[in-house]
């Protein structure tokens, strides 16, 4: 079976997950993003690539940063952007996901940016478009359930490449709530595809998938073991809203053991960078002194995110 994300010429048709996406495509996205970073410094912050195209931001789950950066990216490419806060619209009245999509297709949508609380929803939409012969419409997954958040994974790779140049000599630690994190899954897929030799995950066993080693990573039971000598520390947000049951004693307890403080960061290489996908819980997974410190690259991540989303959308929109 063909990779559902690629068309018959091997070009990107939809961006649904980084798991199984060829290394060549990931590198092409990062290469394409580089010149887009400069557009923000121009008098006219716009390129004509998606002029006349309609991009629908279809958010079934709340998000401010991701929706905004997708919106800015699409607008910098001259697309018309329509934001649908589906959580408060037709779905509430009983319309199914695919009926919503069909209605928007009838309004001549060219691209859907989809966030959904259910894993697989963007894939379902992409499959529906293919089954109904609408190959000119593209889907970008902006985060689905616990499954994937590919543009976050890509912007993280862009950030790492920006500061560290190469992937083949890095040790990267992912810290925290991997179990509930679609970001972590996308990061792990991208890091292993790009040839990072050692990816460690650090966190309480209750917040790690049971088969985490099968994802090609090394499990570390303590911060001391996991952070030693790493080049990159990728923090995750503690996802209280996705937790059911008593997985943790308390946020304070979590911070004491797993929170990133200056003391713990000192175990990493002196030039290690600290990343966080946001929104941050200060004093829970990360200490303010680290979040605002000179090793943090958390705000550059946001800026690079716009260029990376522009790259994805311009590659999709070109065929």
């Amino acid at each position: 079976m063909r990779n559902p994300q690629l068309n018959k010429h091997g070009e990107l048709q939809h961006l649904l997950t980084l798991d199984g996406l060829p290394r060549g495509i990931i590198t092409q996205i990062l290469d394409t993003a580089a010149p887009f970073t400069e557009v923000a410094e121009r008098e006219v912050k716009k390129l004509p690539l998606l002029r006349g195209k309609s991009v629908f931001n279809l958010f079934f789950e709340n998000s401010t940063r991701t929706r905004t950066t997708f919106e800015i990216a699409a607008k910098r490419l001259s697309a018309d952007v329509i934001n649908l806060n589906v959580a408060t619209s037709s779905t509430k009245k009983g319309e199914t996901l695919l009926d919503t999509v069909d209605n928007l297709c009838a309004m001549h949508a060219d691209m859907f940016v989809v966030r959904h609380e259910s894993s697989g929803a963007p894939h379902l939409i992409a499959q529906h478009l293919q089954n109904t012969g609408r190959d000119h419409i593209h889907v970008v997954n902006a985060g689905d359930g616990r499954h994937a958040h590919p543009t976050q994974g890509l912007l993280d790779m862009y950030t790492i490449r920006h500061y560290k140049k190469e992937f083949h000599n890095l040790t990267v630690a992912i810290v925290g709530d991997v179990l509930h994190s679609r970001v972590a899954r996308s990061q792990i897929a991208a890091l292993t595809t790009l040839g990072v030799p050692e990816v460690r995950v650090i966190g309480p066993r209750t917040l790690l998938p049971t088969d985490v080693e099968k994802m090609g990573v090394r499990y570390c039971a303590t911060m001391e073991e996991g952070l030693k000598g790493v080049d990159v520390v990728m923090m995750l947000r503690l996802q209280n809203e996705r937790m059911n049951g008593a997985l943790l004693p308390s946020p304070q307890e979590f911070f004491k053991v797993w929170g990133l403080t200056a003391d713990k960061l000192a175990l990493a290489k002196p030039d290690a960078i600290v990343m966080h996908p946001g929104p941050m819980n200060r004093g829970v997974e990360i200490d303010s002194a680290v979040a605002d410190g000179n090793q943090a690259v958390i705000l550059p991540q946001v800026t690079f995110g716009i260029a990376v989303r522009m790259a994805v959308m311009s590659m999709l929109g070109s065929h």
């Binding site: 008098e43 004509p48 690539l49 929109g317 070109s318």
Partner: protein, 166 residues
């Protein structure tokens, strides 16, 4: 077809531009041949403003037909475009579409006082109302569509013009 030496053409082009430029004139080369050419002209004309470069990938009118260039190099305009005298530099002038794309891109940086176009060779075959301000050689008969002229640079930095049959 006999092609004149590129080095000879560059000297001719610089001679034609010299009376029209001031030290403040800004050159913008179009990737890739135009950038090499602009570097040479910049030295020959003794200009003081830093060189600019444009990759028109993001402004091409055939984007939806041909797709995005797999490795766009981006544009660098290291001077203030507002009220500047700018010369766009390209190796070969053909349909005029690249020049149009470069003009569109340039104007997204500001409003220049004046824009000129300098090319080594005008091969004919224009599809837009665009003409070079400075041109070292205009082919007496337009080059057939299947053929391509291309500036090449060897390891020593010497430039040569090559004819490619598609």
């Amino acid at each position: 077809m006999h092609l004149p030496e590129a080095e000879q053409l560059i000297a001719t082009l610089a001679d034609k531009m010299r009376p029209q430029v001031t030290p403040e004139t800004c050159l913008v080369g179009i990737h890739t041949g135009g950038v090499w050419l602009a570097e040479r002209l910049h030295a020959l004309l003794g200009l003081s403003e830093p060189l600019g470069s444009i990759d028109v990938s993001f402004y091409r009118d055939d984007y939806s037909a041909k797709g995005l260039h797999p490795q766009p190099r981006g544009s660098k305009i290291p001077f203030d475009v507002e009220a500047a005298h700018i010369v766009i530099v390209d190796d070969v002038l053909y349909t005029g579409r690249t020049t149009r794309a470069a003009l569109n891109e340039l104007f997204d940086y500001g409003r220049p006082a004046r824009v000129d176009l300098a090319v080594l060779i005008d091969r004919g075959g224009r599809e837009l109302p665009i003409a070079a301000s400075f041109c070292a050689l205009t082919l007496p008969t337009p080059l057939p569509a299947g053929q391509n002229l291309q500036l090449e640079r060897d390891a020593s930095g010497a430039l040569t013009m090559r004819l490619i049959h598609a």
